[in-house]
Amino acid sequence: MEILAVRDMTFTYPTCKEPAIRDISLTLGRGEMAVLCGATGSGKSTLLRLLKRELAPMGDMSGSVAFCGKALGELSDRESASDIGFVMQNPEQQIVTDKVWHELAFGLENLGTPPAQISRRIAEMASYFGIGDWINRDTAVLSGGQKQLLNLASVLVMQPKLLILDEPTAQLDPIAASDFIATLRRISNDLSITILMAEHRLEDVVPLCDRLLVMDGGSLIADGSPSQVIAALGKRGDIMCGMPAASRLYAKLSGSGPCPLTVREGRNFIESSYGNTTRGLPQASPAAESETALEYSEVCFRYDRNGRDVLDGLSLKVSRGEIYCILGGNGSGKTTSLSAAAGLIKPYSGKIKVFGKKLRDYKNRSLYRDCLAMLPQDVQTVFLRSTVREELAECNAELKELPYDLSPLLEKHPYDLSGGQQQLVALAKVLAAHPRLLLLDEPTKGLDGAAKESFTELLKRLKADGLTVVIVTHDVEFAALCADRCAMFFGGRIVSEGAPREFFSENSFYTTAVSRMTRGYYEGAVTVEDAAALCRMNGRKES
């Protein structure tokens, strides 16, 4: 049955000449799970919001949208609110109330559902999602993944037929994100709810979805099963950069046959099409030992006197001029270790030295002048002014000194920029203090594939200028691309360390998709480029 039918939809914002989306036609059947992808600014959010009446932006719209055979405008308020669910990007701000159970009840309370029925639906939903354990908690204490799950559950409790999600996993760490997507797949299978989600992190979602829609410049340029779409768009680097590693490898090698999506399919593709007479790439010789930029020795820290140690004898050394990535799970204390180096928290024992000088010998905030700077996870916290120009003027940042161009953004409010743009402006502010050591906390959070790639390039350029960079991240693929050395953080200290190639080849779970795909077949391949190079060296098998 057809749940949603969009015909020839064109939409123009009031102050714009060009339409934000043009001539879009698509239909979704019951229980289908469709993923909408495309670069930032391609009109994904506009399209999704137009499908939810309460959130539709103002502007000129032509064409028609039918929901279950009825025009969207003819639905009653109740139908429109309950039958079409909408989950937004930011987990925090969508939550309305202070308790988990109240949040679940909120939608039903609005509809005037009798209290007994609300209790029953909440009980069902909590059991289905396994929320039962934390239903009495304050919403403020939940993790990002739990918050987003709560947002999903509090929409589903109204029993929608169509669920629209606008980049729901952008603010989540990779593990929470893949759990969230698996949950979506489950509700689409179990309850035959139709799902339409915009997403730019596609590694997890593409293998699970039924349909992949691609938008570019406001038009729909592809609509079909994931492997068809990837086979058709394989040459478009800007779209491919967010795809699963197996698909990117396939596109890079211009492979034939069905496009692999998962690690398993990728492995089959490599083994059936390429030989492995050459097993490894020539190893780069390790860089000579240079001066130490940042050193922790036996650092211990806890937030509460009676709490547990968050940093438990942490020792590590970062050499001058290298990019050092600290990887690890949620709540393992990675961010705390950066805060300690930035002097925001005081360890109760142990020493931290920055450029050979103890942290407490940097008097009067001299640590932050020409020495060290930290970019926090939530880059919005860096902004204090109402335009980008004022922001940059405040810290005397020189536009010309920056390795990238910010001039088109100068008159905008920092909060109106996209995630990637905010990152660049925040970085410009941080770089204005001419730091020699830069600390970055989850710099790839919320960035789309293209923004991530350009950020990687940027880091390499900064490194060439002599900057030392310490990055804390969940993003294994990003670390494999940019790091000189990686370290695994667990239980308050570093448990393993090494150059990305050896580091990721020795890990078997916490490693890149390519490393898992080529394990035992090739040696030391961790990025798509490595694998493509090895495949080319070995040549295609004659079949």
Binding site: V96, G107, Y368, Q380, C395, Y415, A433
Partner: protein
């Protein structure tokens, strides 16, 4: 098997306001003594011998309040001694002690009340009055910690960028005021998302209902009836003037009538209701457990 704090919040609130209401609007020394000792007993039963600082503060305040009155007020016939040419009288001293007993008793009750009445129960009570009011309260309760966390994050981010050149006060105040102004923007910006999320879930399309997390069980109705009955007797005794006590010019106690005695006994029973409930629950539990 419920302890007193698990009873229906409305019943608990009615009991609580009956007890403190009598303590606040009457100054009959015996009732005040009952109120204070009941309040301390209740607090100790709930918390054991922790919260030393609270006790210390309350009793220091007690001493100050009790001593302040005879130094300021010089009414009364019985002069104890003369200080700085001012007479200190027995009546004023006892009046001071009586007021201190009243105030500290009420403070103890409120301390226990805030422990029992979690935000959730307050919302239940306000929700019974108006679901909209309760939603506003709930949103406010959510945004306060949200704001304080965000402003702490912004302040840490600004520090780590070294934007404030020195540790001086002017710079600090300027920094704080800028953080405050961006917090306003941040709040508005987030308010839009929250408003979207509310509208998307049908806020404002009709009359709201409210989920009831607490039902009225037999025990709740019993508690409520007992509270109102005991309050009625006490209030009758106070209202008819059967319980009156005068400090000035000299202390004068009215002879106790039957109504007066019943008033005192009722108030004592009212104050001890939770203790009775807790003890009964514990005994019953012991008995039931012996059968397992």
């Amino acid at each position: 098997m419920r302890s007193f704090s698990e009873y229906n919040p409305i019943a608990v609130a009615v009991w609580f306001f009956s007890v403190t209401g009598v303590a606040m609007f009457c100054s009959y020394p015996i009732l005040m003594a009952i109120s204070l000792s009941g309040a301390v007993l209740f607090f100790l039963i709930r918390n054991g011998f922790t919260h030393g600082k609270t006790h210390l503060f309350f009793w220091l305040l007690f001493a100050v309040l009790a001593l302040a009155n005879p130094l300021v007020s010089h009414n009364g016939k019985t002069v104890l001694f003369v200080m700085n040419h001012n007479p200190v009288t027995l009546e004023a001293a006892l009046y001071g002690v009586n007021s201190a007993v009243m105030i500290i008793g009420v403070l103890y009750w409120f301390r226990s009340f805030t422990q029992i009445m979690t935000s959730e129960k307050l919302l239940y009570i306000t929700g019974a009055l108006s679901p909209k009011l309760s939603l506003v309260l709930s949103m406010a309760l959510r945004s306060v910690p949200l704001f304080s966390r965000q402003s702490a994050k912004i302040s840490a981010a600004q520090t780590a960028m070294g934007l404030y050149k020195d540790d001086n006060i002017v710079d600090d105040i300027r920094g704080k005021s800028r953080i405050f102004s961006i917090m306003v923007t941040w709040a508005l910006e987030n308010g839009i998302i929250t408003a979207d999320s509310m509208e998307a879930r049908g806020y404002g399309i009709g009359r709201r209902t409210q989920l009831r997390r607490f039902g009225f069980r037999t025990g709740d109705i019993l508690l409520l009836t007992a509270t109102l009955a005991l309050l009625g007797v006490t209030a009758a005794a106070i209202g008819t003037g059967a319980l009156s006590f005068e400090f000035y010019p000299s202390m004068k106690i009215k002879e106790l009538t039957f109504l007066g005695i019943s008033g005192i006994i009722s108030y004592a029973a009212l104050v001890l209701l939770p203790v009775i409930i807790e003890t009964e629950a514990e005994l019953r539990w012991k008995y039931l457990r012996s059968g397992i």
